[in-house]
Amino acid sequence: MIWEIIKMSFESLLAKKTRSFLSMLGIIIGVSTVIAVFAIGQGAQNAVDEQFEGLSANSIIVMGIKGKQNIGSTKLKTADAEVLLEEAGHITVAVGSIQGNSTVAHSPESGSFTIVGTTPGFFDVSNLELVSGRIFTEEEINNKAKVAVLGNGAVEALFPNGGEIVGATITIAGKKAEVIGYLEELGTSMGPGKQDDSIIVPNTTAETSYLGTGGFVMLNIQVDSVDNMELATAELISILREEHGLKSGQEDDFKIMDAGSMVGAAQDAASLMSLLLTAIAAITLLVSGIGIMNVMFVTVAERTKEIGISKAIGGKRGDILSQFLLESVVLSMIGGIIGVIIGNSVIFAFRNTELITLAPSLIGIVIGFGFSVLVGVFFGFYPALKASRLDPVDALRSE
């Protein structure tokens, strides 16, 4: 009996192709739109995750900023990194860097670039990889050697025609420097300054020759374990305060940012976006739900008459309802599946464009499919439920 009813549902859907298609259209649009909206949200989330991938939860960044508005001078210097490494218990890595902008030239090209004065440890901490050449040595730091490692962007700007890069001489702030290596392209940027456009030099050279006191000092610290973050942070603060000769009551002349709070801030932004997209998805669902409802209600009169006939020749309510329920389910499911296919095709097509970041989201599929199919089934079935309660004569009268 059930099998017969299933067969009849399919037959009746095929017999009314246009009506079936229109009913499905709302569901298709609803499902695919919701999937696309969720893909945008997931794409944004992935971008955040990717950005902070290299940043472990046990990193601390100390910046030479005083107070909220950066008023007053700071005594933070790159050498503080070595002091911390020696004196603090839980700190395993400490790399200081000084950054600032300066005019760099390799005749005839010239431009303003970020100069980063630091120690060899910086390359590790920042995950920088050499394409060619080498990084500078401790000895070169001690000698304040005028050597430089170029970021990929700086290479492209200063050596547009290629040629010998390693061994070439450039000028930084009017002073000569020898290029000893250059870096792989990074793509994404983290922290202040676009690192692709950076020129990395020994910290001593930057402080004495290229930047002077105008640079912005930053320390990259790694703590031995996430559990010791608080302890290490407290220790770090007291060491730096002592080093800078701050009396109790005086404000810190540096600012501490730990990875946790940075990722947290970015996550907050991403989840705000998710919230916004969820609202858009909800509106989409509402609109497509109304569309589905309209198409279904258009067919009510026709269905009501059919139900009248069924009842008049001895159909029980259960028989009639299971047939209409099945019809709605089949229709909504097919529409939902087509919607999922279209939604995911759109994601696939736009996945690698720079226009927008899309990533498939399972929640999007589940919510889009689930809701639309539910709405479809409800509005397909509810009128049938109402009609099945009528006397056959009343149902037959509707035209």
Binding site: M1, E4, I309, K311, I313, K316, R317, V393, L396
Partner: protein, 236 residues
């Protein structure tokens, strides 16, 4: 013929209610009795309540007041879907004035549908439906949809559907309305055959020609029965 009473009305009233709550009384105290194996025609002025009466007999809508006995069972008070569906499916075969066929099903599927609701297996159903359609000269129209059939052919499909579950009672609402006089007379011969098989036939009609085939005529006027023992034969 045995003289068992099949259908009996006692002071049956039926009113319709408009959307604004106004009551439209249509049947105003009907008393009637139809015996098993009788062929009865219901006649009367348009709007007199013939269809309303036939629909009550067919359990297609409830009466407002009074008693309706079907084989001594007070069916007028029954509202249970299962029982009503059973009566409509097995006991009665209803032929509508507008046929009321499923436009998306073929002739044979339309005829077989009551047996589907009765739980008869697929093959058996289609065999019986085919046989019925053949017996009414529709052998070459089995797979046609109602929209591809003439009015008379649709009428025959509707008749076959009414006969599908071998009902005891055939109810026909102006069955000759859409037919030319020749097809109409053919249909009357078919009804006569049912009657001779011991089935009860209740037919609403406007034409005296059709009514002549009936054993007697129940005449409705202003919601009441008049002259219901009037024998047509005596007039001709």
């Amino acid at each position: 013929m045995d003289n068992k009473t099949e259908i009996k009305f006692k002071q049956v009233y039926k009113s319709y209610f408009l959307a604004n709550g106004d009551e439209i009384p249509v049947l105003k105290g009907i008393d009637l009795e139809i015996k098993k194996g009788e062929f009865v025609a219901i006649m009367g002025e348009s709007g007199g309540g013939k269809t309303t009466l036939l629909n009550i007999i067919g359990c297609l809508h409830p009466l407002s007041k009074g008693k309706y006995y079907l084989e001594n069972e007070n069916i007028g008070v029954v509202r249970d879907d299962f029982t009503l569906a059973y009566i409509r499916n097995k006991k009665m075969g209803f032929i509508f004035q507008q046929f009321n066929l499923f436009t998306r099903l073929t002739a044979i599927k339309n005829v077989a549908l009551p047996a589907l609701y009765a739980g008869v297996p697929g093959n058996e159903r289609e065999d019986k439906a085919r046989e019925l359609l053949k017996s009414l000269g529709m052998a070459d129209r089995l797979e046609y949809k109602p929209t591809e059939l003439s009015g008379g052919q649709q009428q025959r499909v509707a008749v076959c559907r009414a006969l599908m579950n071998d009902p005891e009672i055939i109810l026909a609402d102006e069955p000759t309305g859409a037919l030319d006089s020749k097809s109409g007379l053919e249909l009357m011969e078919i009804f006569k055959k049912f009657k001779n098989q011991g089935r009860t036939v209740v037919m609403v009609t406007h034409t005296a020609e059709a009514a002549r085939y009936a054993d007697r005529i129940i005449y409705l006027r202003d919601g009441q029965v008049t002259d219901h023992d009037y024998k047509l034969e005596s007039k001709y």
